[in-house]
């Protein structure tokens, strides 16, 4: 029933490079399918200081910033990282010219598919600029070869903005004030060439009153903006763009703008046909996800007309299913239905599919994952922001024990769509796509701040929820109903909310969110892990004789093993077999394979690991390696009672229960059964040999010859009594062994012939003091349940020092340090390695004696007793045993007897899995510190320009405010000159 996931441990902080990609909304590498076609052609990434100007006099100011070449994209961000930015696919750049300008000025003119001219002045040193240009040239060439350039035309036709700005079909003018298109009614008469994508809203109307939403004026403003600043793939985002988004996107353009702002458009552009193919490939396939989706289809924005029709439901089903096929690990999580339903009102299925991908993958990371760690993390971050920004409310919540998340969880999980009336929620979504995930936090804080006084009255979770419910229901009301100023009266509570969000909480930046997430990540991971641990222990069918705490230790060892040696992903049965819902939560129970088991056992059983005590003059430490031996494999299959070839947590608990609490007799029987493969109550002769090998394996590091002698005697006796029990018929041929060196000939014994029964085995064991004490106490005691020290979670604990420490203290670094000191130790002759014994009963050489008296006289008449008498020393017994049927045995015995020599198993004996894990740990690059420094800078920048957002509620023409272009007047003059500069020949 329990599934144990170590996925969270594998989380890696994004590198600086990845953060840049995220900032520019670029697809992560794996999603750029097109790139593979270039046969490994690849242009290195580069950024360069640049001043951006539009090639039209007086239209926009020039801005200083950084130009990034991240093939196949070109991206720019102004110094404040928010005033101006763009991300355009290189394939939309149709012409690049070096401009003939003043001496010392290096400038390029880029013409885009939409006929727009972008002028970038490269302000870095000349060689750097040259290098950038040559890279840009190479990257453009590759795009041409890939045929990407040709795709642009067809793609832009799917964009509504093209229809909007095209002079022939002036969509804007055809639009009535109510938002419906005049041309739509005569559509059949003259089908337009451009077939742009659109959502359910085109058929079922968009939510809200178009007149109140001022759709027509918004469309006009956007038409102008898009004509001058590029659109869809080539959109340049100047301050005006952000302002237009903040007053609410017009319904018809909304879908496309969401695509551009979120970057999902680049995915759709670079993966044409993917969505349709995915659906086709998986047609008829069902899974837990598809079942869950079915349950929720009819409760996804059911108030919207589109979802009262089969058309809307079907679209929603396809998009959610397609996503679950694309990302089966995430599959489907409740709340995704709300998101998908919302965006499908404004975009086509294909558009929605890619936007959902960006949402789940980048914008809301981990929100919908099976552990929902992203959700929990952001709730924690939000709580900490509330504590910081609204301490009085936070304190009150503490006092009355109200949990913020009971209200705020759905805000974040469904982008407020499930909490507010749709028309308002969509405006928050507009801002979210445009300004980033910080918007969710800003709005959340503003909601609490606005309701501050009432919140201080609430006494419990229920009261909190009711208050929030009432507030959201009143968002359309006037914020100042009693004001004498009609302008103030006209301000709605929703407008007030946005105002407060962006004005009073502009201090909240995306970088701050990132660093807060870093701060709390470990805490959240720990609480999720301890939660699953408690559930796993609680859900065990039987604890056996273990206490809950002990079961917890077993869980810890299992967990650690799974982190170090991840079990192979469970093989899903083919789709056809998944059709019937047979009831059980078909999340497969976590099971581990042999490799993981070996690691697990090495954590628990002393003999399942090789421990070397290393002294090199600087330090004394214990190096631990996982032992590999047939005995461990045997144990694995022995515990696999349901014969699945893999063990569950329950199997491990029951298995350990079967050995850890045993008394002498039970242990002997357990050991016997372990080696009785066909469970017929007899060991075959081969099995006796294997059993002896198991002994030798367990005793391999014991000091002195006591165990070796014991095993040797055991074998002699076992074979003696085994032979004695054989049918007497063979006696004639049997007694040939003159030298006594040859044990009973295997010729006469079938390999599967029963040879030794439990009673005999027991007797032979009890004849020996060493083995007796082994079974009496040592075997059970060799399994040790101790707290497993926390496996390190990658990434930081707290702040700078935490970052630093986690970077230094990786396993691989420790290994390097050890290797280093060992080397020095060797050169100065202080290096010394001792194997730590697994049992450790005998600390010096001891000569134990066989208890011959216990043997019954009748047994003694067994013919081949020569070997018995020769069992004085280990070396003698080795010689005696050598000719026996098992050759590996010889090796083992020799190895064991040679153990005193300083022979160190090479590090190559580390399992390759472990090495792979170490290698991965090594890959982590220590960018965390650099990032932290950046955070500070960003915050300062944000603080300066923050009052620009006030104007959001004024009508559209009042939006544009001065933005810091980061340029001096002289710089501006240069930039201005460039607009008129001629291309260099």
């Amino acid at each position: 029933m329990s599934t144990i996931s170590t996925a969270l441990r594998n989380f890696k902080e994004p590198t600086k490079e990845q953060l840049t990609q995220i900032f520019f909304s670029l697809p992560s590498a794996g999603l750029l399918d097109g790139l593979e076609k270039t046969d490994g052609q690849y242009v290195e990434k580069m950024d360069i200081n640049a001043v951006l100007s539009l090639g039209v006099q007086g239209l926009e100011e020039s801005y200083a910033g950084k130009l990034h070449l991240i093939a196949p994209y070109l991206a720019f961000a102004s110094l404040d990282r928010k005033s101006v930015r763009f991300t355009i696919p290189l394939s939309t750049i149709r012409r690049v010219e070096r401009l003939n300008a003043r001496a010392g000025i290096y400038a390029l003119s880029l013409s885009t598919w939409h006929g727009m001219k972008i002028i970038v002045q490269l302000t870095s040193l000349r060689p750097t600029a040259d290098h950038f240009c040559s890279l840009l040239r190479d990257a453009l060439k590759i795009e041409l070869q890939r045929g990407q350039m040709k795709l642009v035309k067809g793609f832009t036709k799917t964009c509504y903005s093209e229809a909007l700005v095209s002079e022939t079909s002036t969509v804007a003018d055809n639009e009535r004030e109510d938002g419906s298109l005049i041309s739509e009614e005569k559509e059949h008469a003259a089908p337009r060439e451009s077939t742009y994508h659109g959502g359910l809203g085109l058929r079922f109307k968009f939510p809200g009153d178009p007149k109140k939403l001022r759709e027509a004026s918004k469309i006009k403003l956007w038409t102008t903006y898009l004509r001058e600043h590029g659109r869809n793939l080539t959109l340049l985002r100047y301050p005006q763009c952000t302002r237009l988004v903040q007053v609410g996107l017009p319904n018809r353009l909304r879908g496309e703008m969401w695509e551009v702002l979120s970057g999902s458009m680049y995915l759709r552009f670079s993966n044409p046909g993917y969505y349709e193919d995915l659906l086709k490939k998986n047609i008829g396939r069902t899974s837990t996800s598809t079942e869950d989706i079915e349950k929720d289809l009819h409760r996804s924005l059911p108030e919207y007309a589109g979802y009262q029709s089969e058309e809307g439901i079907a679209a929603l089903r396809r998009v959610l299913q397609a996503y679950s096929f694309k990302n089966p690990e995430l599959g489907y999580c409740q709340a995704m239905n709300i998101l998908a339903a919302a965006i499908l009102i404004y975009m086509s299925e294909e558009q929605a599919f890619w936007l959902l991908e960006v949402l789940c993958d980048r914008l809301l990371p981990g929100y919908y994952a099976p552990s929902m760690h992203g959700t929990l993390l952001d709730q924690r971050v939000f709580e900490s922001l509330v504590q910081r920004c609204l301490p009085i409310i936070h304190d009150h919540f503490q006092v009355v024990d109200v949990q913020l998340s009971v209200a705020s969880l759905p805000w974040f999980l469904s982008l407020y769509i499930n909490s507010m009336p749709m028309i308002f929620a969509f405006r928050i979504v507009d801002c979210f796509f445009c300004m980033g995930p910080k918007v969710l936090f800003q709005v959340g804080l503003a909601i609490l701040k606005i309701n501050g006084e009432k919140l201080l009255q609430i006494q419990d979770d229920g009261g909190f929820l009711n208050l929030m419910r009432d507030y959201f229901a009143s968002l359309g009301d006037s914020a100042h109903p009693n004001s004498t100023d009609p302008r103030a009266r006209a301000i709605t509570r929703f407008q007030e909310l946005l105002l407060v969000s962006f004005r009073e909480f502009s201090v909240i930046t995306d970088d701050m969110i990132l660093s807060e997430r870093r701060r709390f990540r470990n805490e959240i991971i720990h609480s999720i892990e301890s939660f699953s641990k408690r559930s796993a222990v609680r859900n065990l069918k039987t604890l056996g004789r273990f206490t809950k705490d002990q079961a917890g230790f077993i869980y810890d060892a299992l967990y650690k093993a799974m982190c170090v040696v991840p079990p192979p992903a469970p093989v899903n049965p083919p789709p056809i077999l998944l059709t019937a819902n047979d009831g059980a939560e078909d999340k497969p129970e976590t099971r581990i394979g042999l490799k993981t088991f070996q690691y697990f056992l090495s954590e628990i059983a002393t003999w399942a690991r090789n421990e070397k005590i290393v002294m090199n003059g600087f330090q004394q430490r214990v190096d631990r390696e996982v032992a590999e031996h047939e005995f461990i494999d045997r144990l694995f299959f022995f515990w696999d009672t349901s014969c699945r070839g893999a063990l569950s947590f329950q199997d491990l608990v029951s298995g350990l229960d079967g050995v850890m609490f045993n008394d002498l007799m039970e242990n002997i029987e357990w050991f016997f059964n372990l080696h009785d493969k066909n469970k017929d109550g007899f060991l075959t002769k081969d099995e006796v040999l294997t059993l002896s090998e198991s002994f030798l394996f367990i005793f391999r590091y014991e000091v002195g010859d006591a165990y070796l002698g014991a095993v040797s005697r055991f074998m002699t006796n076992a074979f003696e009594y085994g032979d004695a029990l054989l049918p007497q018929a063979e006696e004639g041929t049997e007694n040939k062994s003159e030298t006594g060196a040859e044990p009973p000939s295997p010729r006469v014994i079938e390999s599967n012939q029963p040879y030794l029964n439990l009673a005999t085995f027991r007797m032979v064991v009890l004849a020996d003091e060493v083995l007796e004490s082994f079974f009496e106490t040592d075997l059970s005691a060799s399994f040790r349940l101790e707290p497993v020290p926390d496996a390190e979670i990658p990434a930081s604990a707290n702040g700078l020092l935490g970052d630093l420490w986690s970077t230094i203290a990786t396993d691989s670094n420790k290994k390097m340090f050890h290797m280093f000191t060992d080397e020095i130790g060797k050169t100065i002759g202080k290096h010394q390695v001792i194997h730590r014994p697994s049992i450790g009963r005998y600390t010096k050489l001891e000569e134990p004696k066989a208890r011959e008296s216990l043997l019954t006289p009748s047994m003694r008449k067994s013919p081949s007793k020569a070997s018995l008498t020769g069992s004085g020393s280990a070396s003698a017994s080795t010689a005696t045993l050598a000719p026996s049927s098992s050759s590996t045995l010889t090796v083992d015995v020799k190895g064991a007897s040679a153990k005193a020599s300083p022979q160190i198993p090479a590090s190559a004996s580390l399992s390759p899995m472990v090495q792979a894990v170490n290698a991965r740990l090594m890959e982590r690059t220590p960018f965390a510190i650099d990032d932290a420094k950046d955070d500070e800078d960003e915050t300062d920048d944000e603080l300066e320009g923050n009052d620009n957002d006030d104007q959001v509620m004024d009508e559209v023409d009042a939006f544009l405010e001065a933005h810091d272009s980061g340029l001096t007047d002289a710089d501006k003059e240069v930039a201005n000159d460039l607009i008129h500069a001629e291309p260099l020949k």
């Binding site: 059911p302 709300i338 552990s371 929902m372 009971v406 969880l409 469904s414 419990d460 408690r534 009831g583």
Partner: protein, 271 residues
């Protein structure tokens, strides 16, 4: 967020200010848990507004509803938290069952695995939640295994756990009755009853569709909740001994009431 605090803080006295009366109602936090689609939301909807319809409310995390329930001379105000069913929301559940005085763990009698899930919820509640929490186990969708439409009042439900052992003898109750379409039922009533008794739970078989057994869950819980104790604790002047015996008395009287007429108790609850 993952820790269930174990206190009674959310219980307090609410005074009906509108009427100005001294009619004191006790607020009881109740959480619904169970596998997805067993009918949790339907059970709540039946209780709160006495209707049955396809669930239209998209639930993220948990839905929050309130309903008053009159018991004797006292009014209980149930604060009901109906949790979302998807397995991955499980780790959020403690947020909702923290401080709860009552829980209804629902399973679907036509789906055996849902009882297993219910048991696991019960275990979790008993370990993690308020130690005094009153837990009721509800086997829902009883209508699916009943041959004909049964009048909701006809089938009385079992008594509280004390009498659970001989619940089968309750007049009017015909568990595993003849003519029951046996193929659909996957959880025998006796099996669930035995488990509930062993685990110390109230037990009911219900149908949100017909309404059968729904109100009884909430009235029986109301009887079992140590209201006097809570009131005393809230006032800070209570005599625990007296409070305990008073609560016992109330429980018995309620029992009599129910046997008189189950329909009556329904009315009492839909105030």
């Amino acid at each position: 967020m993952l820790n269930a605090a174990q206190s009674f803080t959310s219980v307090r006295l609410a005074t009906d200010s509108a009427s100005g009366s001294v009619d004191k109602s006790v607020q009881v936090k109740l959480v619904l848990l169970g596998e997805a689609a067993v009918g949790k939301s339907s059970v709540v909807l039946r209780f709160v507004s006495n209707e049955f319809q396809a669930n239209k409310e998209p639930t993220i995390g948990a839905a929050f509803l309130t309903q008053k329930c009159r018991l004797e001379d006292r009014v209980l105000r149930y604060e009901i938290w109906d949790t979302a069913g998807q397995e991955r929301f499980h780790s959020l559940a403690p947020m909702y069952y923290r401080n709860a005085q009552a829980a209804v763990v629902v399973y679907d009698i036509t789906k055996a695995s849902s009882l297993e899930k219910a048991k696991s919820w019960v275990k979790e509640l008993q370990r993690q939640a308020n130690p005094n929490i009153v837990i009721a186990l509800a086997g829902n969708k009883l209508d699916l295994v009943q041959p004909s439409v049964s009048s909701p009042g006809a089938a009385s439900t079992s008594e509280s756990e004390d009498e659970a052992d001989d619940a089968t003898a309750t007049p009017g109750e015909t568990p595993g009755a003849l003519g029951e379409p046996a193929s659909l039922r996957q959880v025998p009533r006796e099996e669930a009853q035995a488990y509930a008794t062993e685990a110390g739970l109230l037990f009911f078989e219900t149908s949100a569709k017909t309404g059968e057994g729904i109100v009884d869950i909430f009235t029986e819980i109301a009887k079992k909740i140590p209201i006097e104790h809570i009131l005393a604790a809230t006032r800070g002047t209570g005599r625990p001994g007296a409070a305990g015996s008073r609560a016992d008395g109330a429980r018995q009287e309620g029992g009599v009431n129910l046997e008189e007429n189950a329909a009556k108790s329904r009315d009492a609850c839909n105030c």
